[in-house]
């Protein structure tokens, strides 16, 4: 394969030479991936892969209107670049006017690391995980799980002189341990696998399986519930995905205000909670610029290369921002705000252990599963508790409880939360295919709605 940087240059040169379109954006992403999966104390699937995606976005101006064509391909043959550029330009000429048009960014020039080698990954990254797992496989608990590492390096180049590069490492380890009918889960997010401690995860799992020695069946109902960081992350990620400005402005999301307008400014809680994304958050670094080949209500192809700043979606308990690409921001008279690929919430002090100790009677969750919208007007979501619901009595965990189906809205959870824990790095289990970078607190919900019992273990 020719270097990805050369593909950017080749495509921009081909576009300039053909003269078929007014502006061109090229996005090339090199991806290296390694995976390891196991079940019942034996490896099941594994693999390594190397791939590249090249997207060519052509813009044609006709009077005041802009027209966009997008073609992308994983073909790595340099001879195919010219055809991709030509097809993209033809698509732009045939396209109706783009509703999200904005002037392309100009001129960053090549950053110092533009020409650096592109990092990869391979099965070797799992060496330490495999060693610890191998020990675990020899013990009595049954282990299931997955380790995954993806290293993506993205290059953005435009005919207006923008050159940006970012390497995104994304790693995770999830372990599900079973002992009899009891099931427990531990997960970790990691950029390069340097700090993953499988031994500690296995010890934590053993503790949790021990909590299940006593089992209590509880009916559906409203329970005081401690949501640990992973569960808070899954609910807050869904909330953040639902925070497009346009939908709220147009009255068709849960962030629309009765009587018109949006809920920006509405106080959800007196807890000093701030929900934000920040590409420079330590340990959760992610792309600090827009790179997208498809316009949505959250992102626009015209904004490619634009800086992504920290956005406080909820600040000190009040809704503070919604997502607007530049064109939508101009249309609705507000500032652009683009979500980075991470999510954090801060504002609590207590450790989860302290929150457990302060609970007279309540439930402690582990993870959530199969979360889907039930009613978009309130952002009511349904889902299941999974791999460990524990009963807290007089400040200590005394038993494992059956699983439940819940019906809850993340907005309402923020409205009703009575305590937040200290923010800590966590792996959101439900959404880890798409979102692994999260820092979240635990939340205490006085009346979490368990709609029905699930027999699932």
């Amino acid at each position: 394969m020719i270097p990805a940087q050369d593909v950017v240059d080749l495509a921009l040169a081909a576009a300039a030479e053909s003269g078929r379109c007014d502006e061109t954006i090229v996005i090339v992403t090199d991806r290296a991936e390694a995976s390891l999966r196991w079940a019942g104390n034996s490896m099941t699937t594994n693999g390594v892969s190397t791939s590249r995606s090249t997207a060519v976005i052509s813009v044609v101006h006709r009077g005041d209107s802009a027209h966009v064509g997008v073609r992308s391909s994983s073909v790595v043959d340099p001879d195919a670049v010219g055809a991709l550029v030509a097809a993209s330009a033809e698509a732009a000429h045939a396209a109706p006017e783009a509703g999200d048009a904005a002037p392309l960014l100009t001129g960053s020039g090549e950053p110092p690391d533009w020409g650096d080698p592109i990092p990869g990954t391979g099965a070797g990254v799992f060496a330490e995980v495999a060693r610890a797992l191998s020990d675990g496989f020899g013990r009595t608990d049954r282990l299931y799980g997955f380790a995954h590492h993806v290293v993506e390096t993205t290059f953005v180049g435009t005919s207006t002189g923008v050159r940006r590069r970012f390497t995104q490492p994304t790693g995770s380890v999830e372990i599900n341990a079973k002992r009899g009918d009891a099931s427990a889960w531990a997960g970790a997010s990691t950029p390069w696998f340097a700090e993953v401690d499988v031994e500690t995860m296995l010890a934590d799992l053993s503790t949790r399986l021990g909590w299940a020695k006593r089992r209590v069946e509880l009916p559906a109902g409203h329970y005081e519930t401690l949501m640990p960081p992973s569960t808070v992350a899954d609910m807050m990620i869904y909330l953040n995905w639902s925070m497009e400005g346009r939908g709220a402005e147009e009255g068709r999301t849960a962030l629309s205000a009765p009587g018109g307008g949006t809920r920006v400014g509405e106080r959800l809680t007196d807890l000093p909670l701030t929900l934000f994304s920040d590409p420079h958050a330590p340990g959760l670094e992610c792309a600090p610029f827009v790179h997208t080949s498809a316009s949505t209500e959250r992102m626009s192809v015209f904004d490619n290369g634009m800086d992504i700043a920290r956005v406080d979606w909820v600040r000190d308990g009040a809704v503070s921002a919604l997502a607007y690409p530049r064109a939508a921001a101009a249309e609705f008279g507000t500032s652009p705000s683009v979500p980075a690929d991470n999510l954090l919430m801060t504002g609590g002090q207590a450790s989860l252990a302290d929150m457990i100790a302060a609970t007279e009677r309540g439930l402690l969750l582990t993870t959530l599963w199969y979360i889907r919208t039930v009613d978009p007007t309130t952002l009511l979501l349904t889902g299941l508790t999974r791999d460990g619901v524990y009963l807290i009595e007089d400040g200590v965990v005394t038993a494992a409880v059956n699983n439940f189906r819940f019906n809850e809205s993340p907005l309402d959870l923020l409205r009703r939360a009575t305590e937040a824990g200290v923010a800590e790095k966590t792996l959101p289990r439900e959404w880890s295919d798409w979102a692994t970078r999260a820092v979240m607190p635990a939340l205490r919900i006085p009346d979490f709605h368990m709609s029905s019992v699930s027999q699932a273990q």
């Binding site: 019942g40 594994n46 919208t373 029905s452």
Partner: protein, 508 residues
């Protein structure tokens, strides 16, 4: 199988040279078995918002995967490059992965036998290649459809989307099979929203046209002019139904008799039968992610899954099915078999490894990978509820209900990790009073335990009510893979299913 042929561009790839290079390298470095798959997926997504183009992207993903068995352990490697050198290098990588991770493998990999199919081709049955239709024409059709909805009273916003996919594979293995295939699929969706800004409420309603293993004929025309779907009727009806829904009363929660239309029931089948009868799940291979299944091997042939009118088949052969194929990603020919017969659980879905583990003579042909860069796993075939022998119409089923709801169209879905407890919503909920439809209700969800639900099925409609629904986005495995799958079913009558009021569920 259609009279169409595989695209020349795909046939021109050095398929056999890549396979030869990979197999030579694999066997030379210690592999006892190897297969090679060239996998190309071309996807075009066109999305309009309120009649304006939001995005139109055409993507072609192509790559090559080599899978090997070394001393009873799998190894897998893939690459975007399509040269014999890269094929050989990928084979060596795959062997390296198998050797590196062999210590973690406690179960020796063995494959169920299958006849060898050298040099065969298969193409799905479609009339108009969606990639022969210019993007501008696709946009124009969606603008027309959006405009019809937007022009109607009470419709404030419309989204319109069509996704077109062409999937091409070349599969070869060291047993001697070499199989080249091509299929297309199409997903058209329009969604209309009515906003009551003063009250801070909104309602939406989506078209019922299903995703299908057809070409552009699924998006244009009507059955009278050779099309697949009556778009004129659907687009005319939808705003009227949406306006009625916005004025409808909120449902009264509690046990309720339901007549469920195939446009909703397909998804309940998918979640509560399709996934529950995957053998790999049932024995724990998805335990940490997608989950396991209550339908464990000890229940095979014993468990009363549902009432005696419940007959469920699996197939990879039904015309226009999204999981329909000639041969799976392990070179196993497509088949059809029973999962539930007369209400009893009788069958699983398998690939070649899990067929062997189950003690079956042959795989049911359910191996699939969603790209060159993913390992083939056991994926769902088309899973369908069979119509009744008695030729009951949907109206006949409704006539049996004194006080109930007729549910049309799918919307939200969720089921637990052993496939017991599920909750679904829908697009349209018609109240049934004294055996007849009596307007709509809103805020409906139904919640049940899988076997309770299927045992409450009193009657199924006849063949005239049978429709094929489905999805493009069925998820499974880690790294996550998506697959398209169809589910056919008749209308069916269920007694005493727990209906929730979703406003009450939110505590309001």
């Amino acid at each position: 199988m259609s009279s169409r042929e595989i695209d020349e561009e795909f046939l021109a790839l050095p398929r056999h040279r890549l396979a030869d290079a990979a197999f030579s390298a694999a066997t030379a470095t210690g592999a006892s078995y190897a297969d090679l798959r060239i996998h190309a997926i071309t996807t075009e997504i066109v999305h309009l918002r309120d009649g304006e183009l939001e995005t139109a992207v055409l993507d072609r993903d192509i790559g090559m995967a080599v899978r090997v068995i070394v001393d009873g352990t799998w190894g897998f490697a893939s690459h975007a490059g399509l040269t014999p050198d890269i094929a050989a290098e990928s084979a060596r990588h795959a062997v390296g992965v198998a050797v590196t991770l062999a210590a973690l493998n406690a179960e020796r990999i063995e494959l169920a036998d299958e006849p060898v199919y050298p040099g065969v081709e298969w193409v799905s049955d479609y009339r108009v290649d969606p990639f022969s239709v210019p993007t501008a024409e696709k946009i124009a059709v969606l603008q027309d459809y959006s405009g019809r909805l937007q022009a109607a009273d009470g419709v404030d916003h419309v989204t319109a989307m069509v996704t077109s996919v062409k999937e091409q594979t070349f599969y070869a293995d060291t047993f001697g099979s070499s199989i080249t295939q091509q299929r297309v699929r199409t997903l058209p969706v329009l969604d209309a929203v009515a906003v009551d800004a003063a009250a801070g409420r909104f309602e939406s309603m989506r078209t019922l046209a299903p995703p299908t293993g057809r070409g552009w004929e699924a998006v244009v025309g009507d059955p009278h002019s050779g099309g697949h779907w009556d778009w004129a009727a659907e687009l005319a009806e939808l705003p009227v139904l949406l306006a009625e829904k916005t004025k409808s009363p909120s449902v009264v929660a509690g046990p309720t008799d339901l007549v469920i239309d195939p446009s909703n029931l397909w998804l309940t089948i998918h979640e509560s039968i399709g996934h529950a009868t995957e053998y790999d799940r049932a024995i724990g291979y998805e335990a940490a992610y997608a989950g396991t299944s209550f339908a464990t091997p000890d229940k095979l042939g014993v468990l009363r899954y549902g009432s005696p009118v419940m007959n469920v088949t699996a197939d990879r052969t039904v015309a226009h099915g999204l999981a329909t194929i000639g041969y799976d990603d392990e070179g196993v020919a497509a088949q059809s078999w029973d999962l539930v017969r007369d209400g009893i659980f009788v069958g699983y879905q398998t690939d070649r490894v899990f067929a062997k583990r189950l003690g079956a003579a042959r795989s049911t042909g359910c191996s699939y990978a969603d790209s060159a860069h993913h390992v083939p796993i056991q994926r769902m075939p088309n899973v369908s509820l069979q119509p009744g022998s008695e030729d009951l119409s949907t109206a006949d089923l409704i006539a049996r209900v004194d006080n109930g709801i007729y549910i049309v169209g799918d919307k939200s879905w969720s089921i637990d990790m052993q496939r017991y407890n599920f909750q679904f919503t829908g697009q349209r909920f018609f109240r049934i009073r004294a055996g007849e439809l009596d307007g709509q209700v809103r805020d409906v969800a139904y919640q049940a335990v899988t076997t309770d639900f299927w045992n409450s099925m009193e009657a199924v409609g006849g063949a005239a009510t049978w429709r094929l629904g489905g999805a493009f986005n069925c998820g499974k495995a880690q790294p996550g893979q998506v697959a398209a799958v169809s589910h056919g079913c008749p209308s069916a009558l269920f007694r005493g299913v727990n209906v929730l009021n979703t406003v009450e569920e939110s505590g309001r």
